[in-house]
C-alpha cells in the first residue's frame, strides 16, 4: 500500500514538475515570439523608412515625362483605333463585296438552272406564230391554253398517263412488299449463308443494267409477252406485267431498308416473339413505322422511275402500253424533217414535268435523303 502511495505521490510530483517545465518553456517561447515579432516590426519600420526615399527618386524620374506622355499615348491610341476601324471597315466592305459576289454567282447559276423550266412553261402558252417571231418575247402576248388540250389529243396523253399510273402504282406497291420482307429477313432472321447471299446480291449492283436487259428481253419474248406492233397478241396482264415484273426487285432498296431495320434493337423482336406476335404483325406494327422515312424515299424514287422509264417500254411494248416518256419524243415531230409544233410539245412536256415538281416540292426532304444515299434515279 505504502509503496503504491509513494509511487502515486512521485507521479504527481513528476507531473507537477513537467507542468512547470512546460509552462516555463511556453513562457520562453512566448518571449521568443514576442522578440521575433518585435524584430519583424523593427525590420518593417526600417524598410518603410527606406522606401520613401526610393519613392521620391521614382517621382523625380517620372517628373520629367508627364508633359509629353499623355498626348503621345492618346495619339497612338487614336491612330490605332483609326487603323483598327479602317481594317475592320475594310474587312466589312470586303465581306460585303464577297457576299454580293457570292449571291451574284449563285443567282446567275440559279437563273441558268431555272431558265429551261421558265422557257418550257412560257413556250407552252404561246401561239406558234408568236413562238416563231425573230425577236422572242419573254412573256406570251396572248396566252394560248388550247396548246394543252391539243397536246393531249396529239400524243394521246390520257392513255399514256393511265399506263404510267398503273405501272407506277402497281410496281411500287409490289416492290415495297417484296423489299420490306427481304430486308426484314436479311436484317433479323438468322440462317446459313445469309451474309454470303447478301454479298452476292450487292455484287450484282455494279453490273450495268443493259447486261440484264438483253437476257430479260429474250426471256419475256420467249414467254410471248412482247408485241411491239399492234399489241393484239397480248392481254392487259401481259402488257403491264412485262413492264412491272422484271424490275420488282431492287437490291439497292433492300440494302437501304436492311440498314434501317438493323438500327432497330433486336430485343424488340425477341420480346414480340415471347408475346407470341407473328412476324408479319411485328413488321407491320414496329418495323414499318420506324423505317417510314426510308420507305417514303423508296416509294418516290420508284414512282419517278416508272415516270421516267423510256428504253424498256420502247423495246417490248406496243403503242397502247407505252408510258408517258415514250409518247413525248415522237408525237409532235415530223419524222423526216424534224420540224415540230414546239408550243404543243412544250405543253406536253410541262404536263409531264409538273407532277414531278409537285412531288418534289412536297416531299423534298425524302427525295434528297434518298438520292444522297443512293445516287440513282428510279
Amino acid at each position: 500500500m505504502s509503496e503504491s502511495q509513494n509511487e502515486k505521490l512521485e507521479a504527481v510530483e513528476a507531473a507537477e514538475e513537467a507542468a512547470v517545465a512546460e509552462a516555463q518553456e511556453a513562457a520562453a517561447s512566448e518571449a521568443e515570439v514576442q522578440e521575433a515579432a518585435e524584430e519583424a516590426v523593427e525590420a518593417e519600420a526600417s524598410e518603410a523608412a527606406e522606401e520613401p526615399a526610393e519613392a521620391v527618386e521614382v517621382q523625380e524620374v517620372s517628373a520629367e515625362e508627364p508633359t509629353a506622355k499623355p498626348t503621345k499615348s492618346k495619339k497612338i491610341k487614336t491612330m490605332q483605333e483609326k487603323d483598327l476601324k479602317k481594317v475592320v471597315s475594310a474587312q466589312k466592305v470586303f465581306k460585303v463585296i464577297a457576299q454580293i459576289l457570292l449571291y451574284l454567282f449563285l443567282g446567275s447559276m440559279a437563273l441558268v438552272i431555272i431558265f429551261p423550266f421558265y422557257w418550257m412553261i412560257i413556250s407552252s402558252l404561246k401561239s406558234v406564230q408568236e413562238y416563231e417571231l425573230p425577236i422572242p418575247t419573254l412573256f406570251p402576248q396572248t396566252i394560248v391554253w388550247s396548246n394543252y388540250s391539243e397536246a393531249i389529243k396529239a400524243a394521246s396523253l390520257f392513255n399514256l398517263f393511265k399506263n404510267t399510273v398503273i405501272v407506277g402504282v402497281v410496281s411500287t406497291i409490289l416492290s415495297l412488299i417484296v423489299t420490306v420482307i427481304s430486308a426484314f429477313v436479311f436484317a433479323r432472321l438468322e440462317f446459313k449463308g445469309r451474309d454470303t447471299l447478301f454479298a452476292v446480291l450487292l455484287g450484282t449492283m455494279m453490273i450495268p443494267g443493259e447486261l440484264f436487259t438483253i437476257t430479260n428481253y429474250v426471256t419475256v419474248s420467249k414467254w410471248g409477252w412482247v408485241d411491239t406492233t399492234t399489241g393484239n397478241s397480248i392481254n392487259f396482264l401481259q402488257g403491264y406485267g412485262v413492264l412491272i415484273i422484271p424490275f420488282l426487285i431492287s437490291i439497292f432498296y433492300i440494302y437501304l431498308l436492311k440498314q434501317n431495320f438493323m438500327q432497330i434493337p433486336n430485343e424488340l423482336y425477341l420480346a414480340a416473339k415471347v408475346d407470341g406476335t407473328s412476324d408479319l404483325k411485328y413488321l407491320w406494327k414496329v418495323m414499318i413505322p420506324l423505317a417510314l422515312p426510308t420507305l417514303i424515299s423508296i416509294t418516290i424514287l420508284k414512282m419517278m422511275g416508272a415516270w421516267n422509264s423510256y428504253v424498256w417500254p420502247r423495246l417490248v411494248s406496243p403503242q397502247k402500253f407505252h408510258l408517258i416518256t415514250n409518247g413525248l419524243r415522237t408525237a409532235f415531230q415530223d419524222a423526216n424533217t424534224g420540224v415540230a409544233n414546239i408550243p404543243q410539245q412544250m405543253a406536253a412536256v410541262t404536263m409531264v414535268s409538273i407532277p414531278l415538281f409537285l412531288v418534289f416540292i412536297f416531299l423534298r426532304k425524302y427525295i434528297m435523303k434518298g438520292v444522297s444515299r443512293s445516287g440513282i434515279k428510279g
Partner: protein
C-alpha cells in the same frame, strides 16, 4: 414486354455481381481466421497435456533415483554392520525400486500411446474441418458456381421454351425470301449467265458473203458493175433469238460476236462520242458543282431556297427536259444555206447574239458534229449538277469547322482555303461524284434521245452509224435488230470498260484522297 421474358432475358445476360462476391469473401476470411486460431489452441492443448504427462514421469524418475541412493546407503551400512533389521529394510527398498521401475516403464509406454492417439485424433479432426471449410467457403465453388448455374439453367429454360420457334426460323427465312429469290433468279442471275453465254455463242452461216475491205475499212466495190466485191461465202454469225427459237440452227462456242463489235465501223465513232462526253462533262460539272456547293455553304439567307432550285433538274424527266433544250437550241424553218432567213433562231442564238456571237446551227439539219457535242455537253452538265451539288454540299456540312477557324486565325486567303482545306477534305466525295459521273457518261443514252430523237443525230445526216451513237444505243439497236449475241458482247465490253475506268479512278483517287 412481359415480365417473364424480362426475367428470362436478364438472367441470360447477367452474372453474379462483384459486390456480392466481395462480401462473401470478407465473411469467408473472418471464418478462416477463427478456424486457424481454434486449430492453434487445440495444438497448444495437446502440447500441454504431453508436458504434464512428462512432468509426472520425471517425478517418478526422481523418486526412483532417491530410492536407489537409499539402497546404496543401506548396502554400505549392511557391509559395515550385519543387522537383520537393515537387511529387511534393504529388501523393502529393493522391492519399492522394482515396483517404481515397473511403473515408470508402464507410464512411459502409456504416455507415448496417449500422445500419439491424441495427435492422431486432432489431425483427423483438423483435416475434416479443413475439408468442410473448403467445401463451404471457396468463392469459386460457392458464389460463382451458384450464379453461373442459375444463368445456365435460365438459358436452358428459355431455349426450351422457344426451341420450336428458333428451329422454324431456319426455313422460315427461305420461305419469306422465296418470291425475291425466284425473281432474282429469273431477272438477275440467269441474265448474268445467259448474257455471257449468248456473247460466246455463234453459228456457221454458209451463205454469208465475205466482202473485200480496203485499208480504210470500207467495202471494196467493183468499178464496172458497182457491186460489192465478194471473195467467198461462209462466215460465223452471232447468236440470234429467232433462229434459236426456230431450232434449226446449231450454235457453238465462238468469239466472233466480240470481233464483230470491235470491227464494227461505227465502234470508233461510239468510243469517240463517249470519251469526248466523259472528258468534257465530268470535270466541268464537278468543278461547277464544287464551286456552287462552296458558295452555298458560305451564305446563310436564301440557302435553302437556292439549294431547292439547284436540285430541280434532278427531279425531271431527262427526255422531256431534253426536248426543252432542243427547243431552245432549235432554229425554226432552217435552211442549210440560208441560216439568216429562218423565222426564229431559237432563244440560245438570240442570247448569244446580244454578245455579238452566232448564230450557230446547233442541232438542225446541216449542223456540225462539234455544235451537236456542245449542246450535249451543256445539257449533260446541267443535268448532272444537282446530284453533285447535293453530295458535295453534304460533305461540306460534315467537315469539321475547326479547320476553317484555324485558317481564319492565320488570315489564310480564300483561294488557299479552298485548295488546301476544302478540296482535300472533300476528296472522298469528289472521287465519288467523278466515278459516278464517268459511269453515267459511259451509259449516256436518254439525254441524247431527248435532244436528237431516237435517230440519235440531227435530221438529214448521213445514214449508217448515227452521229451521236453511244454504247448503250448500240446495244439497244442490236437488240431491236434481233442480234442478241452482238448486244451481249457489246454489253460485256461496256461492263469491262466501266470496270476499268472505275478501277483507274479508284487508283487515282486513292493516291489523291486525303483520308
Amino acid at each position: 414486354m412481359s415480365d417473364q421474358s424480362v426475367v428470362a432475358l436478364k438472367s441470360v445476360n447477367s452474372t453474379v455481381s462483384e459486390e456480392e462476391v466481395l462480401a462473401l469473401k470478407e465473411k469467408l476470411d473472418a471464418k478462416k481466421q477463427a478456424f486457424k486460431s481454434e486449430v492453434n489452441a487445440r495444438k497448444q492443448e495437446l502440447a500441454d497435456k504431453a508436458a504434464k504427462l512428462d512432468g509426472e514421469l520425471d517425478d517418478k524418475r526422481a523418486k526412483l533415483k532417491s530410492y536407489e541412493e537409499k539402497k546404496k546407503e543401506l548396502l554400505a551400512d549392511l557391509k559395515a554392520s550385519k543387522d537383520d533389521k537393515k537387511k529387511e529394510k534393504l529388501e523393502k527398498v529393493e522391492e519399492k525400486i522394482k515396483k517404481l521401475q515397473k511403473d515408470i516403464k508402464a507410464r512411459e509406454k502409456n504416455n507415448k500411446k496417449l500422445i500419439k492417439e491424441n495427435k492422431k485424433s486432432l489431425n483427423k479432426e483438423l483435416k475434416a474441418k479443413k475439408k468442410e471449410f473448403k467445401k463451404e467457403f471457396n468463392p469459386e465453388n460457392k458464389a460463382y458456381k451458384l450464379g453461373v448455374k442459375r444463368v445456365l439453367w435460365e438459358k436452358k429454360k428459355f431455349k426450351r421454351k422457344f426451341a420450336d420457334k428458333i428451329k422454324f426460323d431456319k426455313w422460315k427465312a427461305w420461305l419469306y425470301l422465296l418470291p425475291t429469290l425466284i425473281l432474282l433468279a429469273i431477272f438477275t442471275f440467269w441474265p448474268l449467265i445467259n448474257t455471257v453465254k449468248m456473247a460466246f455463242t455463234v453459228y456457221w452461216d454458209p451463205d454469208a458473203p465475205i466482202y473485200q475491205y480496203d485499208e480504210n475499212g470500207d467495202i471494196v466495190t467493183d468499178d464496172d458493175t458497182g457491186k460489192k466485191v465478194i471473195l467467198g461465202y461462209g462466215k460465223y454469225k452471232g447468236y440470234n433469238m429467232g433462229l434459236d427459237i426456230a431450232g434449226e440452227t446449231k450454235f457453238q462456242f465462238g468469239i466472233s460476236n466480240f470481233t464483230e463489235v470491235l470491227k464494227y465501223d461505227g465502234f470508233l465513232q461510239i468510243m469517240k462520242n463517249t470519251i469526248i462526253l466523259c472528258v468534257a462533262t465530268v470535270p466541268i460539272s464537278t468543278f461547277l458543282a464544287l464551286l456552287i456547293a462552296v458558295c452555298l455553304n458560305a451564305i446563310k439567307p436564301l440557302r435553302r431556297f437556292l439549294q431547292t432550285i439547284f436540285f430541280m433538274p434532278y427531279v425531271t424527266n431527262s427526255i422531256a427536259i431534253g426536248m426543252v433544250f432542243a427547243a431552245m437550241f432549235n432554229i425554226v424553218g432552217v435552211n442549210e444555206h440560208e441560216l439568216m432567213l429562218s423565222k426564229s433562231l431559237g432563244i440560245i442564238n438570240n442570247i448569244i447574239g446580244v454578245v455579238g456571237l452566232g448564230p450557230v446551227n446547233w442541232i438542225n439539219q446541216g449542223s456540225g458534229y462539234w455544235a451537236n457535242i456542245a449542246v450535249m455537253i451543256i445539257y449533260i452538265v446541267w443535268n448532272a449538277l444537282p446530284f453533285k451539288i447535293l453530295i458535295l454540299l453534304g460533305g461540306l456540312q460534315s467537315v469539321n469547322k475547326q479547320y476553317y477557324e484555324a485558317a481564319k486565325v492565320d488570315a489564310t486567303p480564300a483561294w488557299r482555303v479552298f485548295t488546301r482545306i476544302t478540296v482535300p477534305l472533300l476528296s472522298p466525295m469528289i472521287a465519288y461524284v467523278v466515278i459516278t459521273g464517268f459511269i453515267g457518261g459511259f451509259k449516256e443514252y436518254t439525254s441524247i434521245i431527248g435532244i436528237f430523237g431516237d435517230k440519235m443525230q440531227p435530221p438529214g445526216a448521213a445514214t449508217g452509224t448515227p452521229r451521236l451513237q453511244t454504247m448503250v444505243g448500240f446495244i439497244y439497236e442490236a437488240l431491236e435488230t434481233n442480234s442478241q449475241g452482238l448486244a451481249s458482247a457489246a454489253a460485256i465490253i461496256l461492263f469491262l470498260l466501266i470496270f476499268a475506268v472505275t478501277l483507274v479512278n479508284l487508283y487515282v483517287s486513292k493516291k489523291k484522297t486525303h483520308y
